[in-house]
Amino acid sequence: MTASDEDIVDLDMNALDALFAQATNDVGTQPSEAFMTRVVTDALAQQPMPQFAPPSLWEQITSMVGGWQGMGGLVAATCAGFWIGINPPEGLPSQFETFLGNETSISALEDGIDDTGMFGFGWDMEEG
């Protein structure tokens, strides 16, 4: 290759590079608005729906009683009731004491004997 041949090739390449630069910004190779809309429509049609994990059993229970606040209230009420049951505060009216325990066991035992002198579960006596 002679020096003049190389010059010609170099000039060709420079002009070609200019042509490439014009082609980079060529509006003729841009997609139409209608086509872009079509692609977006495809995208939305193929889009997975948002995934939500199903609630666990514990989450279902807590939500039934009103979430964590409800659960806290329930636990507090249960503890208070249990403590009052074990150790009823003094000065409660007598009907409350009866309800809460002091005389309950006796009355329950008495309720087991009816007027005929038989226990509530009379068949025990009859069968001997």
Binding site: I8, A15, L19, A23, P31, D42, A43
Partner: protein, 194 residues
């Protein structure tokens, strides 16, 4: 989230948002990737209708693969270019023998560009010249010199070595210069060598 907020997000992050049901991410990805894919397809195929088919197909594949996309492993645009390049190759194999005259039709003879007749003629001549190149050379030249991608990325897209890309682009460019030489006067390059 407003559309502007997506401009800083990488393609794979946008794809993850899309998979979580974010409609704005779908629009942002479409706006970002479709023109690039379409531009490549229309230059390789020389036909807008066919380029639209290929682009729509490539984008559809992206939407379908989105839920299984693994962040940080592959570049979304590289993957998409590769799918597009393969779809173009399939099309060209099916319709071998496109002559220069057939590819000579203007891509988009829009009346709004009549004042840029020279530019349009040059673009059409370039398109016609590109159509004379072997398919792999054409893809490599378009990706390197018009899309502006780096050789390693082109190598990944065309699934060849970087050296092979360099060889393809060099030979392609030389062949293109020869193909355009007869039209240099018409294209306003009379004083240059094209």
């Amino acid at each position: 989230m407003p559309l502007d907020a997506y401009t800083d997000l990488a393609d794979d992050a946008l794809l993850a948002q899309y998979s979580q049901g974010d409609a704005a991410a779908a629009r942002a990805l479409t706006a970002r990737l479709t023109p690039r894919v379409f531009g490549h397809a229309v230059r390789v195929l020389g036909d807008r209708a066919e380029a639209e088919d290929v682009t729509q197909d490539a984008m559809m594949r992206l939407w379908k693969v989105a839920p299984d996309w693994r962040m940080g492993e592959a570049k979304v645009s590289t993957w998409l270019y590769r799918v597009t390049a393969n779809l173009c190759t399939d099309r060209l194999r099916r319709k071998r023998g496109v002559g220069l005259n057939e590819a000579d039709d203007p891509l988009d003879p829009s009346p709004s560009v009549t004042d840029q007749l020279q530019t349009r003629e040059r673009m059409n001549a370039l398109q016609a010249g590109l159509q004379t190149l072997p398919e792999r050379q054409r893809q490599a030249v378009i990706l390197r010199h018009i899309e502006g991608l780096a050789n390693p990325e082109i190598a990944e897209i065309l699934e060849i070595s970087t050296e092979a890309v360099e060889s393809l682009t060099a030979r392609g460019k030389r062949a293109l210069a020869q193909a355009l030489a007869p039209a240099r006067k018409k294209l306003g390059y009379e004083d240059d060598s094209i």
